[in-house]
């Protein structure tokens, strides 16, 4: 038998986790309004599907944006041949302008600092390759997107160390938590190379306030470590207090001289709803990082066909303004509908103003305040309520009982059905005097088989993954290899 590498044979891909059960359940039995109304509703996928009508309309009215139309085809040759890793100038310009608009034009972005990558997935990995050596670490506040475990660690060999945030102060990132995490790393002889911030936060749906951003800047500049700001949900902010980007802090006089520590990750997958187009962006204030990341972008460039479409779309100012307004409005409505529906049965969710999901508190439904109980509840929700939601443990949350529930990847009717299922479940579960017949939770066997998937009927992303480790006791993630 011919051997494969350590990277190929370890679990760094993250897919051997039991948290895949929810996805498998959806795959086997996907909800459909007419063909399978009792199927599993996918609420584990952070996708933005609320504004496709606007996009569709734009695409139909702008045939030149596609090189496959008679109107656009005379540009085909030049576009198809262009493989320069700087990217089409019009693409970089339009993305820079779009990022400025999303930030209320309070900051300026230089198109020459825009580097492409294979989605935000590729952007994170590229930055890790540029900023840290194997064995070194990034700090990341919990709870965080499970995909970071793979994206930042798998092929790079770097470690992620948690900055523990708690519900007692709404999961805000405190100076103490940052210093605590850094100190723990020092004691374990692990070199910290950077801090990752996700703003707006996945899974919390909250934005960072100015104080926290400034605290983070002071923290990293004092230690001369990097700051990676993942702002992929920046245009999903739908309510006050609005969005403050690290780019604003970077322009404040107190921090200007530390700008070369700041790197922003962006993508069009969430804000525009284009995950298939693989448009990832690294924006760095550090020339050496821009240069290095640009060379590495050879491994994950954006198709020029897509660069061309995006450039056309994002340079249509009238369309962009209308889209951003309407998207925020619809997200606000959907969020409100969902949280009010939950409140009706006493389910609290973290007060949020952004994102495509809710961070809900199901602590009172747990048998006991443990992650085991959380897992049991989660299996119950998948098997009985037929909803694929994401348990807090997969986000490395330090407290059991929290779940992330996505609400922007479905239409209104499906949302209503999901809510009614939740209502029924909560009422039944909290009814006194009923012997709780605990169903045997089906633990489906984990096998990612090669069988062809029914791709027309559902969309599956492997990105919503979590670490196979269960670290209930120690927040310090141990090195794997």
């Amino acid at each position: 038998m011919v051997l494969l590498s350590k990277i190929a044979t370890n679990n760094g891909h993250g897919e051997n986790s039991s948290y895949f059960d929810g996805w498998k359940a959806y795959e086997i039995d996907p909800y459909h309004p007419t063909k399978n109304s009792h199927g599993v509703i996918q609420m584990g996928l952070a996708e933005n599907q609320l504004c496709f009508d606007l996009i569709q309309e734009w695409v139909e009215n702008n045939p030149k944006a596609s090189i496959c139309t008679p109107q656009g085809s005379n540009g085909f040759n030049d576009i198809a041949v262009y493989q320069d890793y700087h990217g089409l100038p019009e693409f970089r310009n339009s993305v820079a302008r779009f990022m400025e608009k999303v930030r209320g034009n309070k900051v300026r972005f230089n198109p020459d600092r825009i580097v492409m990558s294979g989605g935000a997935t590729g952007a994170h990995e590229t930055l890790a390759f540029c900023l840290a050596d194997p064995g070194e670490a990034f700090l990341v506040p919990t709870p965080y997107y499970p995909g970071y475990d793979r994206d930042l660690r798998w092929r790079t060999g770097i470690q992620l160390l948690p900055v523990v945030c708690e519900s007692s102060n709404d999961f805000k990132i405190t100076r103490e938590a940052l210093e605590d995490a850094y100190e723990k790393a020092r004691e374990a002889n692990i070199k910290v190379k950077g801090l990752i911030l996700n703003n707006p936060s996945n899974p919390l749906g909250t934005v960072l306030d100015r104080t926290t951003l400034r605290d983070a800047m002071s923290f990293i500049s004092e230690r001369n470590i990097h700051l990676i700001c993942d702002e992929i949900y920046s245009a999903t902010v739908f309510n006050e207090p609005g969005f403050i980007s690290i780019a604003e802090i970077a322009e404040e006089s107190a921090y200007r001289k530390h700008r070369d520590l700041i790197h922003i990750v962006y993508s069009l997958s969430k804000d525009l709803g284009f995950p298939g187009f693989r448009v990832g962006i690294i924006y760095s204030y550090n020339d050496a990082v821009v240069n290095c990341a640009r060379k590495m972008s050879s491994f994950g460039l954006v198709s020029t066909q897509t660069q061309h479409l995006i450039a056309s779309m994002l340079s249509d100012d009238i369309f962009v303004e209308k889209f951003l307004d309407e998207s925020a409005k619809r997200l606000a409505e959907r969020h409100s509908l969902f949280t009010q529906g939950l409140a009706k049965v006493g389910i609290k969710s973290l007060k949020a103003n952004a994102g495509l999901f809710c961070w809900i508190d199901l602590k009172r439904l747990l048998k006991e305040p443990t992650f085991e109980a959380e897992k049991e509840l989660w299996h119950l929700i998948i098997d009985e309520v037929k909803l694929n939601v994401s348990p807090g443990a997969s986000f490395h949350c330090s407290e059991p009982g929290w779940f992330r529930v996505c609400f922007a990847n479905m239409d209104d009717e499906t949302m209503k059905i999901a809510l009614s299922r939740i209502h029924k479940f909560v009422i039944q579960k909290t009814r006194p005097d009923q012997p709780t017949t605990r169903k045997q939770c089906k633990r489906s066997k984990l096998e990612i088989s090669l069988s062809s998937r029914r791709l027309d009927e559902f969309i599956m992303t492997p990105r919503m993954l979590s670490s196979p480790h269960s670290h209930m006791t120690s927040p310090l993630v141990r090195a794997r290899n």
């Binding site: 085909f76 989605g119 998937r453």
Partner: protein
């Protein structure tokens, strides 16, 4: 305790500060000269002609014609949800219709002599990503891949930079037309072993870049025997498989495996791309085809870092599943490349320059060793600089391809119009005339 090496103000990784990205090679220096002074038929007829870029522009009209006739199919189809479904599709398996179309296209290129299963196709953003990804999967940092020289300069970056894997060259030389021999393979393997380096695989490019020639069936069989004996992997980079000048001469490793019922095939992996055969480098369409289930699964997971835009998958699924189009394209493309190749070979011959006998690719492997002062790499680079600055042609020196025989150059011919090629040939002709004149001049003093 290691001494701290002085780092810039804020530290980057070792990978970031290393030179393994390879951009200081003369391979790229020539490009800069071109960028600063690019040839244009009308506006800059004395500019540098780019002959260092292996691109295929001879068959673009065929693609354009196809698009004109099929704009709806390629443009998200008729369904109103077409755009939405496509924009949302991020499954790392890739669109099934796209994989089917690629498998079928790869079969057609091989004249139906090998079958490809769409479920073994893993998508990546270009062959650049495919090669790096395979390296991550097949070898650990510090391990090595054996690569026959001369080879594509980009491998130095693609296979080594972020992976930490080494390349150990398998030396091939002009004495036998640069063919790969079992002795050379053994010598390379032993060389690695003597340095305590673990060899994890052999990587061949077939048809070869820069040689512009296909690998013989008997050689493929010897290579397969070698990797089996050593229990290591074989990666066959076949990105020029559709750029052969005849349909018959190219033998893919897939055919050899099929002929032996896929025995020992779980060590074989094929890289393909549409950048060369279809002339679509901007679209970033690469694939890995592996006969090893675990490699397919792992590669697919890793492809998350480098997927093909679903918009592009959609376009190509439509184009490549149209057999009328693909059959005509493959045939016409071959004819035009053959004609272009003949033109440059004849032109060079008229100037007294020989090339390696080639039958594929977008370039020829030109022998200028008779022009060297001394048979050294330095002489070769001196000659290369003359070609660049005096003759204003950007060609690629053999040393940048790790060729052990000095004096060979790769010259691309498919990335320009026939007129431009003619201009290039005229310049070469004049250059050779000038050199002959200098040599026969009585005042000629040796230099």
């Amino acid at each position: 305790m290691a001494i701290e090496i002085e780092k810039p103000a804020v530290g980057l990784s070792k990978v970031a500060v290393s030179d393994t990205h390879g951009e200081y090679s003369p391979y790229f220096a020539g490009w800069k000269a071109y960028d600063e002074n690019p040839y244009d038929e009308l506006w800059n007829s004395s500019g540098v002609i780019q002959m260092g870029l292996a691109e295929n522009q001879v068959s673009f009209d065929l693609l354009e014609q196809y698009l004109e006739k099929h704009s709806e199919a390629t443009n998200w189809g008729n369904r109103t949800s077409g755009f939405r479904d496509n924009a949302l599709f991020q499954d790392y398996h890739g669109l099934q219709s796209f994989r089917k179309a690629m498998a079928s296209f790869m079969e057609q290129i091989r004249g139906g002599r090998a079958k490809f299963n769409p479920d073994r196709i893993v998508i990546t953003a270009g062959a650049t990503a495919a090669n790096e990804l395979l390296t991550f999967i097949l070898a650990d940092p510090g391990d090595a891949l054996l690569i026959p020289t001369p080879y594509y300069p980009g491998f130095d970056r693609d296979l080594r930079w972020r992976t930490g894997v080494k390349i150990v060259p398998v030396h091939c030389d002009s004495s036998n037309n640069f063919e790969i021999t079992p002795q050379a393979l053994d010598a390379a393997y032993n060389e690695a072993e003597s340095h305590n380096i673990k060899v994890k695989g052999v990587l061949i490019t077939n048809p070869s870049n820069p040689l512009g020639a296909t690998i013989k069936r008997s050689t493929l069989e010897e290579i397969l025997e070698f990797v089996t004996r050593k229990n290591i992997h074989l990666v066959s980079d076949e990105i020029y498989s559709g750029s052969t000048f005849s349909g018959e001469e190219f033998v893919s490793v897939a055919e050899v495996l099929e002929a032996r019922d896929y025995k020992e095939s779980d060590r074989v992996h094929i890289v393909y791309s549409l950048s060369k055969d279809l002339g679509l480098p901007g679209f970033r369409v690469g694939t890995i085809y592996s006969y090893n289930d675990k490699v397919v699964t792992t590669a697919r997971r890793m492809s998350s870092f480098t997927l093909i835009s679903s918009q592009t998958q959609q376009l190509l699924a439509s184009m490549l599943s149209d057999r009328t189009f693909t059959e005509n394209y493959i045939k016409t493309n071959r004819e035009r490349l053959k004609k272009r190749h003949q033109m440059i070979i004849d032109g060079l011959k008229n100037s007294g320059i020989e090339c390696l006998k080639g039958n594929a690719g977008l370039f020829c492997w030109m022998n200028l060793s008779p022009l060297l002062e001394e048979p050294t790499k330095e002489s070769e680079l001196t000659l290369w600089k003359s070609m660049l600055h005096e003759v204003k042609l950007n060609i690629s020196p053999g040393s940048s391809c790790h060729c052990s025989d000095p004096g060979w150059f790769r010259v691309c011919f498919a990335n320009m119009s026939e007129q431009t090629l003619q201009v290039a040939l005229t310049r070469i002709h004049n250059f050779m005339d000038r050199r002959k004149a200098m040599k026969s001049s009585p005042d000629f003093s040796s230099y």
